[in-house]
């Protein structure tokens, strides 16, 4: 699928604490500086030391949307990695390992076992991380790259430390580089150059940057994997971007603090995962009732309860749909990838500012903790900002007191002008109790069914015509395909790769990827799916949350499903195999097996 066909996946396996992140960063930087696209997925556990971590970095001169199906080079930082993963390596692949500490197992024919005598190469350097740098040097040589490609990123990686540290790493990497040149077969293909250097980010970086670009001035959070990267980006960039960043005592406090800051006039955002989101649910209803615009991100992980904190799932759709008591409209959007997440946040802020309501984002571990290349020219850092009916200039009356300003004025479009507190003349009270147009409670002694109905309808009316402002999903691929794969959120990219694989076998499939869940383009979706031959919904959960939601909203029942709920993300062949199995016959659900046990 790539122009020169270069598509190469490197995996690094070891225990937590063995320093897998650093070689991962170095390789990512080398690839993006060459202008190659990359996609990295780190399979890890909720542990600071020990366990098993397996980082896959896939690079290509064409865009890559998943970590792929197979490995071309494996670096074993411990015996465990060798024992678990060697059997996955095919003819022509390379396996690098520290031969002082690790014994190779029985490899398939044609696998290049590449022992690295680390002690000998590093003058018996006692630093436990030295084997990583030796391996990186060797990889760079096997890829046919110049040593300078590596030394430059080493200088960047360790540049904040003293020069001695940079020099030591460069020397050790050089030893690995030279050793590989004299002892191992190169990978046998040219590592190409892309058109221009790219940038690298994680999905959490993208979410945070989307907020910063949208004008977020207040961000707060309680740490929770896999959402914490958003907090880290915000904290690191707070001063430069003028964003107030706070770590709060719990997620209830987080959501309420966001509401306070948003009501005072800031664009305010927070991110959490499913458990924290559960604590925020009452606040989501409060934002709807107070009519305060805010953005809340749920980075889904495998649940329920504490679940599997470091594994991915699309299991919070129904939680988002039903978050908070009562019956009120909300916005829910599930971006397809990091770049889409970056672009979606400013769009969502414009919508919540306009509609004065909560906006929910469903990311997941796959997007948020994945590392991806991105073309910096694709990043619109100054997006359009529309604050809707926000009033920031003085009014002449006494606000609610003399009725000259009514916070919840029953306007034709349901949207009432929103005065920022502190503005002279706009004094009013907002309330989570049901209230009249002036903000005065009708919930207690003033209860009035006519007013209650009016306010419910006013809040609902804000969403009339909203679908016209939101792009409808489009069918990707040939309209008359044999199979139509329906997805939501993060699975769009891996499905596209599966479709490309199927095409090689002569199976024509297309995809309908859904991003906006509420409001849902039900009519447009139904019109497309009714014309489809065989429809298969692909999602990362057990019960088919989206498939059931789609049926509930549209009456459309998909023919079959591919579902994965073991914590690991889909690989392209999982979906392709599922389509092969489901396209004919009576099986309704395919659950792929996860081969790489991490």
């Amino acid at each position: 699928m790539s122009s020169s066909g270069f598509d190469y996946a490197i995996a690094i396996g070891g225990a937590a604490g063995q320093g897998i992140a650093t070689p991962g960063n170095l390789l990512s930087r080398i690839f993006i500086r060459r202008g190659l696209h990359m996609n990295a997925y780190n399979a890890f556990q909720s542990i600071i030391r020990g366990g098993h971590i397996f980082l896959t970095i896939r690079a290509s001169d064409a865009p890559v949307h998943s970590h792929g199906d197979q490995l071309d080079l494996l670096v074993c930082l411990n015996q465990d990695t060798m024992d678990r993963h060697l059997r996955l390596m095919r003819k022509g692949t390379h396996v690098l390992f520290n031969s002082d500490a690790i014994k190779p197992g029985a490899a398939a024919d044609g696998v290049h076992l590449c022992p690295l005598p680390v002690k000998q190469l590093t003058d018996d350097n006692r630093n436990k991380l030295v084997q990583n740098t030796v391996a990186i040097g060797a990889i760079v040589r096997l890829l046919g790259l110049d040593f300078e490609d590596l030394s430059r990123v080493l200088a960047q990686q360790f540049g904040k430390k003293e020069q001695k540290v940079v020099d030591e790493n460069v020397a050790v990497a050089r030893a690995g580089f030279d050793h590989a040149g004299g002892n191992f077969a190169p990978i046998g293909r040219q590592t190409p150059m892309g058109k221009k250097p790219l940038a690298v980010w994680t999905g959490n970086d993208a979410l945070a940057m989307g907020g910063a670009a949208a004008g977020v001035k207040f961000y707060c959070a309680y740490p929770m994997s896999p959402s914490t990267g958003v907090l880290h980006w915000m904290a690191k960039n707070a001063r430069e971007t003028g964003i107030m960043v706070r770590q709060v005592e719990d997620e209830i406090g987080v959501a309420m603090m966001v509401i306070g800051a948003a009501h005072a006039g800031c664009r305010a955002m927070c991110a959490t995962s499913g458990g924290g989101f559960a604590l925020m649910t009452e606040a989501i209803g409060a934002a709807a009732m107070l009519e305060v615009p805010c953005v809340i991100i749920d980075v889904q992980r495998a649940g329920p309860s504490t679940g599997v904190p470091t594994k991915t799932e699309q299991g919070d759709l129904w939680q988002a749909l039903g978050a908070s008591q009562g019956d009120f409209p909300r916005l829910i959007v599930a971006p397809h990838d990091a770049l889409d997440a970056f672009r979606t946040i400013p769009q969502l802020f414009n919508l919540v500012d306009r509609l004065q309501c909560p906006g929910l984002v469903l990311s997941d571990l796959l997007i948020s903790e994945g590392t991806f290349s991105v073309d910096p020219d694709d990043l619109q850092m100054q997006p359009e900002i529309d604050r809707g009916k926000l009033v920031t200039t003085a009014l002449s009356g006494q606000g609610a007191l003399d009725g000259s300003y009514l916070r919840y004025q029953n306007t034709p479009d349901g949207i009432s002008p929103r005065v920022q507190p502190g503005v002279p003349g706009g004094m009013h009270v907002v309330s989570t109790d049901e209230h009249d147009e002036d903000g005065v409670l009708i919930s207690d002694e003033f209860t009035d069914p006519i007013k209650r109905r009016m306010m419910v309808e006013k809040r609902a009316r804000k969403f009339d015509g909203l679908l016209q402002r939101i792009q409808a999903p489009v069918l990707e691929g040939p309209a008359d395909a044999e199979v139509t794969l329906v997805s939501w959120g993060s699975t769009r990219g891996v499905i596209a790769e599966a479709i490309a694989q199927l095409q090689k076998d002569g199976i024509v499939a297309n995809q309908l990827a859904i991003k906006w869940l509420v409001p849902l383009h039900g009519d447009a979706i139904t019109a497309i799916l009714q014309r489809a031959n065989k429809t298969i919904v692909v999602e990362n959960n057990h019960s088919g949350q989206f498939q059931r939601y789609l049926r509930g909203e549209t009456g459309f029942t998909a023919d079959a499903s591919i579902r994965k709920y073991d914590g690991e993300p889909f690989m392209p062949h999982h979906i392709a195999d599922g389509v092969r199995k489901l396209r004919k016959g009576s099986v309704k659900i395919h659950v792929p097996d996860q081969e790489v046990m991490v």
Binding site: K217, V245, G260, A394, G399, A400, V429, V430, E445
Partner: protein, 295 residues
Amino acid sequence: MTTTERVPLTAKDFKGRINPDWCPGCGDFGVLAALQKALAELGLQPHQVLTVSGIGCSSNLPGFIHSYGMHTLHGRSLPVATGAKLANHELTVIATGGDGDGYGIGGNHLTHIARRNVDLTYVVMNNQIYGLTTGQVSPTSRHGMKTKSTPFGNVETPINPITSAIMNGATFVARGFSADGKQLCELMQAAIQHRGFSLIDVFSPCVTFNHDNGYDFFKPRLKKLEDQGHDPKDWKAACEKAMAWGDEIWTGLFFQRQAPTLGDLEPVLAEGGPLARRPLGLAKEASRRILERMM
């Protein structure tokens, strides 16, 4: 902003759109009156004030004041008030509520706002009972008290909001009595002027559901710290006085110290005015540096 054109105001100028719906004789009337007077005497204008409450009888207070107000969720006034204050530090932010709201369901937030020293004032109308739900035990109900949820007497020990707040780092901790409007108004003015987090716990009797701790209970027992030459800088003496619960119960300013507020320590707030009024989005130069670090 027209804040320079100040017209002297009176408590009446802070009277809200509607009259309070509290029971006749409720202590909260006195608290509302003292707050309206304090705001007027401090020369504040209604648009400069944001009152934030949770849920409960006393949390209806923002609805009865002419200012900006937020009537939020049960127990959550403090994080909302924190967010609002940090977003617009020029606002005078006053959180109000009851003992169940602040010391029960919202207790976690009180602990943390105290240590953060957010520059706002928290007035707790402490009636030692859940009134709006018609009379259940509260975190400040006395040991042995019979309520609808403790018909055989409360077996739990009440929280001491004064010592708790001091221990958690609050920089202004006081106690008032709703029937002593003069002292309460003075405490409120001092609290609003204090830079940092100030807590005023106010005995505000519930005449309908708490028959143990009404005006008759408090009047003969209450003594004023200011009459005894108490030094508010002395936290040990403050705690000792706050622990007294018998023939003598103390009101007044228990503890005060000067410390930087959360806002003072936030470089983001150092210049440029309130966040809520700053231009949105990223400066070109900041964008360039962010992208550069990604390359």
